[in-house]
């Protein structure tokens, strides 16, 4: 358990953490207008009279935004609202041109549900959701010392889902794990890119502490806009410690909004006053209700099942993987699918996992590519693995010389190995000649071995392998060497 949680427990306190996670949906156009929903260097070019908030314009809801929100809800096991309306949340900020954000207050599209957590030593298996609602993103403010504040409205109207958990996240590690799983889910479902550095996935955390057994929650502090797992974790740890120190000193915890500064690892109060948060929600008359029926939901269910939890369960049951392998293989859907395809080609699960998490991963890192870009078919890799397992190809040779040639190869691994003369040589006479040659070239070591320095065997094997240019079968080399030495 984390130190800060132990400290809280010793003093008779407990932490209450809730998360509000904003996810940008990867639709082609914006939520209420047709302007493009993708990044551009050019400020204020992906805008329209609707996203600029001009009077007299009418928003029209993007069907794909609804679908993507529902997919997330179904994957979380939420109840989907059959009758949806939108509400206006009024507040003034320069990057919110209408003076209100169109959101869902009364009828969030998904109610309840949970985010399963995956990781070691976590205090809970899942985090319950309060709801998920659809809304629009605001523009961006760039604070320039001289010119004033610059406003770019390209982001205004980007569809968002806001995922709101119950205040039941057990601690900082669980908060980070919850966010990680949300990112995995968003990517598995293909509803967003969830790149945290780009702000496509952002997290606010509500943190308070209270005496154990108290029914009322403590004074809530909201930490805004964190954009990495470790920031969320560190901010939560810092905030819990800060609040405990205040309580122990008999000082009040001020209800406020704070920001986390990664450079110092601390949270700081923001200038907004809580009394200003009077949003005066009311139904948006411009957007007619959205009614979802059973048939619509049933049609989306198969796609919602393409989520990390389902893959983890299936891979665990079917292939008995270690938690370590499982974690790496299910981090991305493409990886999990690739693994399953390899197994279907007859590769042993453990061996498939080793190849994917070892040599294949190194190759991807070297080339700076992901699985779908590298163009090594599962059939090709399965054949390569089989060649090694049938002792037709030496492992090191396969990894170092053949694997890097597989992308875009038009020939099978066997054909390639034949052409490059890499297959294990069955020629006993040739091998015996090499063994003799090596032993003659190392007379001192040969004598030392015979006198009992058995560790030298490795050196001999290495030399023989080198001379055979990776074509000799290491097991046979060992046999031949022992025969020659004894």
């Amino acid at each position: 358990m984390l130190d800060v949680l132990k400290k809280l427990e010793e003093e008779g306190y407990e932490a209450t953490i809730g998360l509000e996670v904003h996810v940008q949906l990867n639709t082609v156009s914006k939520i209420f207008s047709a302007d493009a929903n993708h990044e551009t260097e050019e400020a204020n070019t992906h805008v329209s009279v609707i996203s600029l908030g001009h009077p007299g314009t009418l928003p029209v809801l993007n069907a794909q935004a609804v679908e993507k929100a529902v997919l997330m809800g179904l994957a979380c096991g939420s109840q989907i609202s059959r009758y949806n309306t939108f509400d206006r949340k009024s507040y003034f900020y320069p990057d919110l041109p209408k003076g209100y954000q169109t959101t869902q207050d009364k009828t969030p599209i998904c109610i309840g549900g949970k985010i399963p957590l995956f990781g070691t030593n976590l205090l809970q298996e899942q985090v319950e959701l309060h709801h998920i609602h659809l809304e629009e993103d605001a523009g961006k403010s760039i604070h320039d010392e001289e010119a004033g504040t610059l406003i770019d409205l390209n982001r205004a109207g980007t569809p968002l889902i806001e995922i709101v958990t119950n205040p039941s996240v057990a601690g900082p590690d669980e908060a980070a794990a919850c966010l990680q799983e949300i990112r995995r889910m968003v990517r598995y479902l293909g509803i967003g890119n969830a790149n945290m550095e780009k702000g496509e996935l952002r997290c606010d955390a509500n943190i308070s502490i209270k005496k154990k057994g108290d029914s009322l929650l403590g004074e809530k502090v909201e930490i805004k806009n964190m954009n990495s797992f470790s920031h969320v974790r560190k901010a939560a740890i810092f905030e819990l410690e800060r609040q405990l120190a205040l309580k122990l000193a008999g000082e009040p915890v001020v209800v406020e909004t704070r920001t986390f500064d990664p450079a110092t690892g601390q949270t700081y109060g923001m200038r907004f006053k809580e009394t200003m948060n009077d949003y005066r929600y009311f139904p948006c008359p411009d957007l007619p209700p959205v009614v979802l029926d059973d048939q619509y939901l049933a049609g989306l269910q198969p796609r919602a099942n393409e989520n990390p939890r389902v893959y983890r369960q299936r891979l665990t049951q079917k292939y008995q993987l270690s938690d370590y392998d499982l974690g790496i293989l299910t981090e991305e859907k493409e990886t999990a699918q690739y693994f399953e395809a390899l197994c279907q080609q007859g590769v042993e699960p453990k061996s498939a996992a080793n190849w994917m998490n070892g040599p294949l991963r190194s190759l991807l890192n070297e080339e700076g590519k992901n699985l779908s870009e590298i163009a090594i078919g599962t059939q090709q890799l399965a054949e390569l693995i089989k060649l090694v397992e049938e002792d037709k190809l030496v492992y090191q040779t396969a990894v170092q010389q053949l694997l890097p040639k597989l992308p875009k190869a038009t020939k099978s691994p066997l054909k390639l190995a034949e052409e490059l003369n890499l297959l294990v040589s069955e020629d006993k006479a040739e091998l015996e000649a090499i063994v003799r040659e090596v032993l003659i070239s190392l007379p001192k070591e040969t004598e030392a071995f015979r006198k009992g320095k058995k560790k030298l065997l490795g050196l001999f094997i290495g030399e023989v392998m080198k001379k055979s240019r990776g074509k000799a079968n290491p097991k046979v080399v060992q046999q031949e060497l022992l025969k020659a030495l004894n």
Partner: protein
């Protein structure tokens, strides 16, 4: 219905309106009358009636997810009081007090 000064100031602040002291009395009177008028609606028995949020009864007015450029940057910035050809410019917004 009587509206007090505090309520008037709060509503004005939420709407970012500056009220001159000499306007206050008239506004208090006007707001009181508006509330009286709305109060009338309470006489209607609305038990079991769902709030009416939309007039037409239409549902599921959705658009296909297609991108279309309707205005360019020059047009977008045209009506802004201050802009630099790329951005809207507004008075400095402060962020944090540490």
């Amino acid at each position: 219905m009587k509206v007090d000064k505090e309520t008037l100031q709060k509503v004005a602040h939420l709407a970012r309106l500056n009220i001159r002291p000499e306007e206050e009395d008239q506004l208090l009177k006007d707001m009181g009358e508006i509330l009286n008028w709305v109060e009338k609606l309470r006489e209607v028995n609305t038990k079991g009636v769902e709030p009416l949020t939309h007039m037409t009864g239409e549902v599921n007015v959705l658009r296909a997810d297609k991108a279309e450029a309707t205005i360019d940057r020059q047009q977008a910035l045209k009506n802004a009081p201050q802009q630099d050809g790329k951005f809207f410019i507004v008075p400095q917004v402060m962020k944090r007090n540490d």
